[in-house]
Symmetry: C2
Subunit: 259 residues, 2 copies
């Protein structure tokens, strides 16, 4: 299995604090030592880092932890391999372009071998994971159903949920997906989220002794939502998604929640 | 204008030495301060770094310079903006998937406004540069002509050359393109390359006082080709490509050269 982390915010925000907690799970407090990756969006632009080495020892992870990259949307993943070798091309998150937007996806779980029978149209996997194959299928389905970007995402979100339900029938399918603006999360077994806004308080990481006072780092209008497989802090109340639930964030706020 | 750098090698090789020279041109010895990017292939996998800040001051560039990422194929670019704002989505190199391979491209030059009239099929730009638009057109043309990966690349290489000739009619089109295995370079005005193999010697950078002894870093069977807008070293003889020439490398060796 693996661990997921995502962020949606209404102002460019760094994830140094949360990533400091997550990277511990890549070989120290957790067994997810088979690589890690993170995708940051600045506007429409994507900056991503992928490393097949354990995050806890990774020089690139050290940079991501220490260097505040400010972003509206982030997706990160640390991997414990099941299907597919430990190598760069099997390292999440995965990205493909649709409608002139770079979409990014990461998956936690394992799918039945029959996932590889789903028909691919526009996108093909580079690596050999069930996760990337499912992404190529899902994005191809979206592209077939919506050849052009819809003005409203309401119908699209429902569509992604039905396709995610279909993938969940093939195994465990916890998933984060973004088009650079919307952050969609689908829960098959385990996903937690929290929205931080004024009045901001202190937060302390579960995986390593680090405390942050968000008051010092924010303005009163900031809204920042974090989503992760397991809560990253031990002094805040995180919301748990239900099985089969999909939640969508934009600018840090929930804009859709469907069960 | 911008500067290009590429590498093709028969063993996983880092580009720390060459990148140390190139990054100086991003704000110190050269005016290319409008961002930079680099793409490393490990097998089929792609690891890339993009930063809209000047490379000479960039913390991410510092990491790339100091941390030896071993790769068979590398494409790097430092930007001096002409068309398109200075922002992440306009930062080269650009990547898209075709045939289950991640293709990467970087461009030096400026194309006539009419490039934006070329018909796009499968790929659309995220940003607003003429460069990325030309890439989306070029890769779409390849996909139309070769819906499946050909067994031999001979015909494909000729096809890329004719389309590159067509782009050169619209302005300056120096270009590096890779499918993760082949490194293709097209020269419109200025590109230089050098193949290093045994017996290896010393090389000294043109842009900063750094000397490397490749004997200490290589084995006798290593073959490493570097290609760059202007030679990166001042004590070696670089080959100059002619106008309209295309050269293709695989595992560090020239496999095609067409004028």
């Amino acid at each position: 299995m693996c661990e997921l982390m995502g962020m949606s915010a209404n102002v460019p925000t760094d994830v140094c604090f949360s990533f400091t907690g997550l990277m511990q799970r890549g070989g120290r407090t957790g067994p997810h030592k088979d690589g890690w990756g993170i995708a940051f969006y600045e506007g429409r632009g994507l900056s991503s880092f992928h490393d097949p080495n354990p995050s806890v020892n990774s020089k690139i992870a050290q940079l991501v932890k220490d260097y505040p990259i400010k972003s509206h949307v982030v997706i990160s993943h640390i991997r414990q391999a099941n299907v597919g070798d430990i190598c760069l091309e099997n390292t999440h998150p995965f990205s493909r372009e649709l409608w002139g937007q770079m979409w990014t996806y990461a998956h936690n779980g394992q799918l039945d071998q029959s996932v590889f029978e789903l028909p691919l149209t526009h996108y093909r996997p580079i690596g050999t994971t069930d996760s990337e194959y499912a992404f190529c299928w899902l994005l191809g389905e979206i592209r077939e159903a919506f050849p052009e970007r819809p003005d409203s995402y309401d119908e699209l979100i429902g569509f992604v949920k039905t396709r995610s339900d279909q993938l969940r029938e093939l195994g465990v399918f916890n998933m984060l997906l973004t088009d650079s603006c919307y952050l969609m999360a689908y829960c098959s077994t385990k996903l937690h989220w929290i929205t931080r806004k004024a009045p901001f308080g202190q937060a302390s990481l579960s995986d390593v002794e680090v405390v942050v006072d968000f008051c010092e780092k924010t303005t009163p209008t900031d809204v920042v939502t974090m989503i992760a497989t397991a809560p990253l802090t031990d002094n805040e109340v995180w919301n748990k998604l239900e099985i089969g639930e999909m939640i969508v964030f934009r600018n840090g706020l929930v804009i859709s929640q469907q069960r």
